[in-house]
């Protein structure tokens, strides 16, 4: 199995504050990783370091065998590692269609093609297909500022994946989404990722989502990964239960065992 991402001894200090330390993880192709941890545990810092937004203090990040240290976000993006944001980063005054059109325009730029008209029939078809894949075609002509939160999240992810990336890091895809909608939203996202053969890692606070969609869990606590294990194992891990999910959480499969 191909190793997509390999992180070794990654550390980040902000003055005396340690935001990340001793992070050693690997992601294999096709895996779905769930990153859990309390606020301030270092989850987003980790994503920011891997995607080039924050330079790590020390350590190594390799993506498909290529070191990412010193790379800018746009260079990391071009290599095929993309991300979405906790607060969707879209072009608020533009319609959903124009947001996607610009996303494709930038993603498909090759030198002089930047000067060609952004509207082409082929590109418009790709935009419509992507909107279809993320089930937001109904909002095609709605300005992004007027979108419901869930649709805006989907637009953000749809924009992040226009390059058919190898690995996508989603920062809290279900934050701000109602309980009724979050599973549908995740179904749409995971189905779209499956279609494109994209390896996914996402930050998530909702353990039900983690249990249902994730193969392996990384639990962050005070900048360190205290558990890197298959989901079922992680959910019953002592440290994870003490520091991340709390003792009162009862995973569905354990309840099943208890009833048996």
């Amino acid at each position: 199995m191909t190793t997509v991402l390999k992180v070794q001894d990654l550390e980040k200090n902000f003055g005396g504050v340690i935001a990340a330390r001793n992070i050693n993880v690997e992601v294999n192709e096709g895996e779905t990783i769930g990153i859990i941890g309390a606020n301030g545990a270092g989850k987003t810092t980790f994503v920011n370091m891997v995607t080039g937004y924050l330079p790590p203090s020390s350590g190594e990040v390799e993506f498909l065998g290529q070191s990412l240290i010193g790379f800018k976000p746009r260079e990391v993006t071009k290599l095929g590692l993309c991300r979405s944001f906790q607060v969707p980063q879209v072009f608020l005054s533009e319609t959903v269609f124009d947001n996607m059109l610009v996303a494709y325009g930038i993603a498909e730029q090759t030198g002089f093609s930047l000067f060609r008209p952004i509207h082409t029939d082929d590109r418009e078809t790709r935009v419509d297909n992507q909107l279809e894949r993320y089930q937001i075609s109904d909002y095609r002509d709605t300005p992004a500022s007027a979108l419901p939160q869930g649709v805006r999240k989907l637009l953000d992810i749809a924009m992040a994946t226009v390059r058919n990336p190898k690995l996508v890091m989603l920062d809290e895809p279900t934050s701000g989404i109602s309980v009724e909608e979050k599973f549908d939203l995740m179904d749409i996202i995971m189905e779209a990722m499956r279609q494109e053969d994209t390896t996914v890692m996402f930050i998530e606070h909702d353990m039900e989502i983690v249990e249902r969609f994730v193969d392996r869990v990384w639990a962050f606590y005070q900048g360190e990964i205290i558990c890197d294990a298959p989901t079922a194992e992680a959910m019953v891990d002592e440290k994870v239960r003490e520091f991340v999910i709390g003792q009162e959480y009862h995973p569905a499969h354990l309840e099943g065992d208890a009833n048996a």
């Binding site: 995607t51 800018k72 976000p73 746009r74 993006t77 071009k78 993309c82 991300r83 944001f85 980063q89 879209v90 072009f91 608020l92 005054s93 533009e94 124009d98 059109l101 610009v102 996303a103 325009g105 930038i106 993603a107 498909e108 730029q109 093609s113 930047l114 000067f115 060609r116 008209p117 952004i118 509207h119 924009m159 992040a160 226009v162 390059r163």
Partner: protein
């Protein structure tokens, strides 16, 4: 291809033909107003491109003056042809924008606006002090030739006007097409969300730099036309900061909706200034300031929004009519 040859393209083309025909009937003073309109309109197109990227420059007289003074310098070394002068003016202004762009692209908002002004004031200071550059008296510009041909005194303005409208037309169409390109659409993208642009795989700073160079090229071209029109360059009328203010005035007046609006804005500005100065020489600044105030209060998106508003109302009326007939 039909996407390129849209309403704006045909509108500009009709404008070119109309101005060409009009040239046969224009009085000399009208032609001067026309040439100044084209000159300032070109600069305003550059400002429109920056404005759409969320950037305002209070110092584009820097490039305008650079273009104008390039004409003077080239004439001193014997270059008289308008085509060579134009290439020279565009080249020097573009090079200056290219170099300064490395610094300017790191700044936004008021810092970007005022840093431009600072650079323009440095150029003003240099031009006003250096004797060999004409100091505050400036330098006279001689009549130019057109591909080596001298049309003679009687036809000179007539021919130069044709050169200017064709040049402005080509520039406006190029700018319009540019704004429809991927790089052009990035004006909106960097204004709205630079983080997203970075994570889509392009440098926001690079996008801003390219727009800055284009605005510099256009301002340089405007400077060349103004220098030849006025027949004289001096620091006060070409580089001083109120000159930059005029360009911002025109951009606000026109709005950023369409490149053709900048020429309408420039013409309105030119007429306002000319007539305010003629009929109320004591208070002409008051009239200009008052007009700007009215525009900002009642047409915050500029003159172009009159057209958008009209189309909106027409669509509403059509919808009402359709509803009324269906109810019958």
């Amino acid at each position: 291809m039909t996407r390129l040859f849209d309403k704006t393209f045909w509108g500009l083309t009709i404008g070119l033909v109309a101005l060409f025909v009009l040239n046969f009937f224009l009085e000399e003073w009208m032609r001067t107003i026309g040439l100044q309109t084209l000159s300032r309109g070109l600069v305003a197109i550059g400002l429109l491109i920056l404005w759409r990227a969320g950037l305002v420059s209070f110092g584009h007289a820097l490039f305008f003056g650079f273009g104008a003074y390039t004409v003077a310098m080239l004439q001193i070394v014997g270059v008289r042809d308008i085509f060579l002068l134009m290439i020279g003016g565009i080249f020097t202004a573009g090079m200056l924008a290219f170099v300064l762009g490395f610094l300017l692209r790191q700044y936004r908002a008021i810092f970007f606006a005022l840093l431009n002004m600072a650079f323009s004031m440095i150029l003003y200071g240099v031009l006003a002090k250096v004797e060999s550059l004409g100091s505050t008296d400036g330098i006279g510009i001689e009549q130019v030739t057109f591909l080596g041909i001298n049309p003679g005194d009687d036809n000179y303005r007539f021919v130069f006007y044709i050169f200017a409208i064709v040049f402005a037309y080509v520039s406006a169409v190029a700018a319009h097409w540019y704004l429809k390109s991927t790089l052009g659409m990035m004006t909106m993208a960097v204004r709205e969300n630079e983080i997203r642009v970075e994570y889509l795989g392009y440098s926001s700073e690079k996008a801003i730099h390219s727009k800055y160079i284009i605005s510099g090229l256009l301002a340089g071209a405007g400077g060349v036309i103004m220098a030849v029109t006025v027949g004289h360059v001096d620091p006060d009328s070409m580089v001083y900061w109120p000159v930059s203010g005029d360009f911002v005035f025109i951009t606000i007046l026109a709005g950023t909706g369409n490149v053709s609006a900048t020429f309408i804005g420039a013409l309105v500005y030119e007429l306002l200034r000319t007539y305010a100065f003629e009929f109320a020489p004591e208070i002409w600044q008051l009239i200009l300031g008052g007009s700007l105030l009215l525009i900002i209060m009642f047409l915050p998106d500029g003159l172009w929004s009159i057209r958008s508003e009209w189309r909106h109302k027409r669509a509403l009326r059509a919808a009402n009519r359709a509803q009324a007939s269906s109810e019958e």
